[in-house]
Amino acid sequence: MKLVNRKRRTARRYFLDRLVRYSVYFLCGVAILPLFFIFGFIFSKGITILDWEFLTSLPKSIGESGGGVVNAITGSLYLVGIAASVAIPLGVAAGTYLSEYRGSKLANILGQAVDVLNGVPSIVIGLVVYELVVLPMGGFSAISGGIALGMIMIPVITRSTEETLKMLPKSLKEASLALGASYATTVLRVVLPAGLTGIITGILVSLARVAGETAPLLFTAFGNPFVNLDPLKPVSSLPALIFNYAVSPYEDWHRLAWGSACVLLLGILALNLFSRWLSRRYRWY
């Protein structure tokens, strides 16, 4: 009697175990389905478009077939470059401060501010930059677009820097101070280098995030049918080009939009994979 009971219970447990396991598999599958869908769709539509001409020539005018999006590719790299040079120093400095002065009142306030900034919709950031940079400077420009993207990057870099530095053992700093190093020297020459991989990973992730931002660029960097490297002039970008061309009625422009989406996705994928590889390959602690 008892034995039968136990057997039955065991069977029940097995059944429950399997039920839970398969439900989890199923839900995971559902969760990553959109990912496969997006990649499959974009690649099937876009990958055939990618060729040398597409990557190196300017869009043709309406009615002509062929052409490429070199203006948008260089523009995106340029904008992301400006954004990085704005956001990396500020973000790393803020993250270092948050980690070094954890628990202090100012650090708490700064941390809250960073979280709030992280939650501001990107279009609102674009609007603010439009008011504060575009209007005073009298026109759309690469620099204003870069600043808008930089403001989106700052909180991401700040938090990842902070998390990285917080993980470092305290004994590392002690070792440096005990040799007679000043506090500043210790941070610059021991703490930051020790956390470099993590910091770079965070930077790459933030770059991947802003590379696809569209909204704040529409009224800052605007767009440009030509390659432009003048920071004071408007500049094209992949997301903005996709937006403009996809809603146009021209088949050739749709083609350019799909190709651009493919380039953008590949770029972001590469950044993500590289940052993952980096953080695995060069992890000190």
């Binding site: 004994s171 070792a175 005990a178 040799l179 007679g180 020459r189 021991v190 280098p193 020790a194 000190w284």
Partner: protein, 266 residues
């Protein structure tokens, strides 16, 4: 009091001079007093071991000697600590110079996540050595002094974190030696090591004793008797007894010392 007096005798006997002079040292973590008026002298070019049960203030005392306790918030020091003749708690005292002259080795080896070479070169660099050849010379000399050169000379540009635990600890000792200190403080430098590495570190201490003034905290009584010339017994924030190591272990003056070294408590 007794301890100091006995030490005074031995000082004359061995004709050594004093490197560290501590008088009435009290130390507070917030409101709680961890050291209740320590008075002792640490002789030059000798090994002084600090022993005592856990929590009696050995580490706290050690860290007052290079002011590492400054890093802990809400602490306070009273009394006099003279290192190499200067009151190190005097206002305006040069902390960087103090810590260059008084090196420290920690319980857990803590090499920088840099190459072996950079670990050793870091100290001289921050104290102004720029010349590559000089740096290489210092690095080699320090590693030789730490009995590590032969093991690492072919991998100077590899990460220090790839070394074994014992090698890492000797690297940390070499790193401390590289800034040419006069006093070396060691807080249980071998307690995280296996017996062989412990023996290597002990041998190293014996080799260094003629060139440096060494203060070592240890829980291991055999270790104290093997490596030290003098031993100080701490108990609940007080210095109970300080004497020549063989004397202290064979005929302690204080009952509490005897109880501790015979293993009756702690």
């Amino acid at each position: 009091m007794l301890a100091t007096m006995e030490y005074k005798e031995t000082e004359q006997a061995t004709a050594t001079s004093v490197k560290v002079h501590v008088e009435g040292l009290r130390f507070f973590y917030g409101a709680s007093e961890a050291l209740h008026g320590i008075t002792l002298d640490i002789p030059e070019k000798q090994v002084t071991a600090l022993i005592g049960p856990s929590g009696c203030g050995k580490s706290t005392f050690l860290r007052t000697l290079n002011r590492m306790n400054d890093l802990i918030e809400n602490t306070r020091v009273e009394g006099l600590v003279e290192v190499l003749g200067d009151n190190i708690y005097a206002p305006g005292y040069d902390l960087a110079e103090l810590r260059r002259r008084v090196g420290m080795v920690f319980q857990r080896s803590n090499p920088f996540p840099k190459t072996i070479f950079e670990n050793i070169a870091y100290g001289p660099r921050i104290h102004g050595v720029r010349d590559r050849a000089t740096l290489e010379e210092i690095v080699e000399k320090s590693l030789r002094n730490a009995a590590l050169w032969d093991e690492v000379k072919d991998r100077m540009n590899q990460s220090a974190l790839g070394l074994s635990g014992g090698q890492q600890q000797r690297l940390c000792i070499a790193r401390a030696l590289a800034v040419d200190p006069e006093v070396i403080l060691m807080d249980e430098p071998a307690s995280a090591l296996d017996p062989r590495s412990t023996a290597a570190v002990e041998d190293l201490i014996l080799e260094l004793r003629n060139q440096y003034t060494i203060v070592i905290v240890t829980h291991n009584m055999q270790q104290a008797s093997r490596v030290s010339d003098f031993t100080a017994f701490f108990y609940e924030g007080d210095l109970v007894e300080l004497g020549k190591t063989p004397n202290l272990f064979t005929c302690p003056r204080e009952k509490r010392t005897e109880d501790y070294i015979t293993g009756r408590f702690g």
